[in-house]
Amino acid sequence: MTGAARAALVWIVLVLLAAVIVAHASYTADMSAFLPRRASAAQRLLVEQLRAGPAAHLVIAAIEGADATTRAQVSAALAARLRSDAAFISVNNGDAAQLERDQAFLFEHRYLLSPQVNAERFSAGGLHTAIGDSLDALTSPEGLLLKPLFTRDPTGEMRVIIDSLTAGRMPHTSGGVWTSADGARALLVAQTRAAGSDTDGQQAALVALRRAFAAALAQLPPARRDSLTLAVSGPPVFAVAARATIEQQVLRLSTLSALLIALLLLALYRSPRALALTFVPVASGALAGVAAVALAFPVVHGITLGFGVTLIGEAVDYSIYLLVQNPPDFARTVWPTIRLGMLTSICGFAALLPSAFPGLAQLGLYSIAGLIAAALVTRCVLPQWLPRRGALRDLSGLGALLAGLLARLRPLRRALLLVPLLAGAVLYLHRGALWSHELTALSPIPAADQALDERLRADAGAPDVRFMVVVPATTPERALAAAALVGAQLEPLVDAGLIGGFESPARYLPALAVQRARQASLPPPGELRERLTEALTGLPLAPARLEPFVREVQQARDAPLLTRAALDGTSFAHGVDTLLVRSGAGWAALLPVAGVGFGELSPAAVTAVRAALAAAGVPAQLLDIKGEADRLYAGYLLQAVQLALAGLGAIVLLLLLALRSARRVANVVAPLILAVLAVAALLTATGHALGILHVVGMLLIVAVGSNYALFFDRTHHPSPAPSPYLTLASLLVANVATVTAFGVLAFSSVPVLADLGSTVAPGALLALLFAALLAPPPRAAAGAAALQSA
């Protein structure tokens, strides 16, 4: 077996191995690609909640069109179908049955749930005051509502509970179902059984939801069903949509750029075989890249595959250099330059490996593995399959044309001095708004979908919470107890009008110790009757009227304490699951805090809440979720800039080692820096705020552009060089291929992909142009010698 045959065999085995790994890898397209690998405790909680918290499987559905009665009817039919579907844990549309269950639960457990229940309230004096207040309240509309319950609940515990619960904003109701504030949409809130990270399960649940809606519509006469539509939002929808978008974009964009590049190369080579060979290193590289990521990371992010399109842009260059230049002794002449170019690219990408942003780290590993594989295939496997020399079209003519054009452009090289000046001026003028600051800049969710989500959340009374008090504890019981202490400190802030209100799991499920204390403060029947006789003095009520009260207090004294299981079947179960969560090794109670008018907290309110937390005497902190997310992003951005600079440093160092001449390194690096500056200025001038992927794109400009610059360096040095014309032609072809690949990316609807494309496409073009212009004029002797050899 020849060396070449062995290489081919090894290649085939490795390709098969990689294919197996790729086929067995798990893929995700959720937002977790954008969440940090290492994080503060607060960020970890945030990430856990986004990934797997109960909020991550909440779906809000809105029924629009037709009239209110029809919408209510469809909402009821839809809810009935979903309740019998195992894909959903809970379904709530505000219907009467649910309301009655919730109301019955609160009323039955009022003596365990009411924060007012204590020994003082059940003394003769306390009873007198409480019953007196309830009598006064009977004159108000709310009191009127409580009238039928009066003899069972004369101290008004139900009123107290409702007062504490109405702190949140609730959906409106019309026709017996939840609606938006303007009544134009019927609302339904459902929780999928599939966890936030199970995109397949969530997709199945959403399909079931759509099917149930269609079935509910089918029950209507055709005239009434026509205008009805279903809008669905929530994290599961985003996860599924993001995955679909990324999958579709990755597939479509890869196909499109491969097709465009294939057409270009076919036109140049006029040989299908050469074309096929061009894609061998690219495909091998892509396979190796995904396999490497699958081995090194628990899950491959869909977005990594999207970035993978970039690999086409660079890996295709290798085979182009080989095929176009097609030198007699590839391994000795062209290969060293390709190898150095590949190593510089790897230096650049290696800088991304330590990134806290998983998407970036995966991109780095994917590209490194992909480029090594593509380069090795180009070096070891491809040459043996090349058509005979002369069988391929000679592009020297194109090269000569280019050389002539460049010679005419050369006098303009002084004008390049303007590039740093102009770019510097543009960047300076935009210095205030240079960088993008919001995490949402990374989100693959289109702005329209985000707006829909915001609207539905506002309708459903579940606005995105910005501020949340986090109370960590070792057990749920301790978390609930601590949450109650924090709640007691926050209550006065609500009364003082500093904050609009707050939620707490302890409202629905008080700590067992708290429940026990409340139960212990209830007097036995005989004693209660005596106290009532005294308490009712001066009130227009006979003690005998309150026998139902005495009976129910007696029942409450012996009732079992509330546990999480007791909440099953009520709307409060979901409330507790959302607000009492596992965090790291322990638990955390979450208390979302709303500003006055349910806006954001004012700075004064933030200060007041922090002071209240300090006074509560339990470890608790106020988490600014949007602030934390944006800090996270700012951290990524800063890190991306640092890593890109480190990558640049590594590239310069590598070039110094390889070229052993500061002047040659400067010649190679100068056009790249100019290209980066020009692109940064272009992006800024066209209204883009620079984000992480722009920075990564700039690193890519340096990585890809260094190949061009190195070839120019080589054509002007006495090391073995093939035809400078062929070199020039191959560079142009490679450049057009790269610009095509990234240019296609620039039109992606996924922001991160578009950012990358719109940075690298113009950058690669400029890098080639600048490198060509800045290269020293070709020496006639070298050129002539090369021409002869060709």
Partner: protein
């Protein structure tokens, strides 16, 4: 998220059930009824003192409250209770806001169709809004423009379950009393009088 809403809703349902009963078929409108509505509609605002007496079967004495009632055409109504404990109830463009102590409760009438007739009986009468009155009640008019009485029997079954009859009496463009008789026999009487000089 849903708990409080759910509870308030449930309470209203309970309330609606507790009040209940039949409505007498009203007599066709008197021509003086039209004149009365025109007279009432011409009045743009008003401020009166009120006393409310509620007779509840389970209590040995009626409950009394008092305060001020403010009206601005066509849909701003404010009930300021001063005794026995301060409370302000504001109806504005279909939104009811209750303020007691530091707490404010807001409810949109769209959410509580059962409550609408209670509020509309007074608001629509003050505004001379005959259409609104007849949407919710079978209206019968008695008396003269000088001394008139409107009897409002709920038209909707859900309301009729709790409210038997609302009787509003007045003199020209001023309301004097509003009596609400509930189906369980409980009754409230709201008496209005010009505000004594401030």
């Amino acid at each position: 998220m849903t708990a409080a809403r759910v509870v308030r809703q449930a309470l209203l349902a309970v309330c609606a059930m507790l009040l209940s009963v039949p409505a007498a078929q009203p007599a066709p409108a008197d021509p003086a009824f039209g004149q009365l509505l025109a007279l009432l509609a011409a009045r743009r605002d008003g401020q009166v003192a009120f006393t409310e007496v509620q007779h509840l079967a389970m209590l040995e004495r009626p409950l009394q409250s008092s305060g001020e009632l403010l009206y601005q055409a066509p849909d701003h109504l404010e009930k300021r209770t001063l005794q026995p404990r301060p409370e302000t109830l504001v109806l504005d463009h279909g939104v009811l806001t209750a303020r007691r102590g530091q707490r404010t409760h807001v409810l949109s009438l769209r959410d509580y169709p059962q409550v609408v007739p209670f509020v509309e009986s007074i608001r629509a009468t003050l505004a001379g809004d005959g259409a609104a009155l007849e949407r919710y009640f079978h209206v019968s008019f008695a008396g003269t423009l000088e001394h008139w009485t409107l009897e409002l029997a709920p038209a909707e079954a859900t309301v009729a379950r709790s409210v038997q009859l609302i009787r509003i009496s007045g003199e020209r463009d001023s309301i004097r009393t509003v009596e609400i008789r509930q189906t369980d026999g409980d009754e409230s009487v709201l008496t209005l009088a010009p505000v004594r000089s401030p």
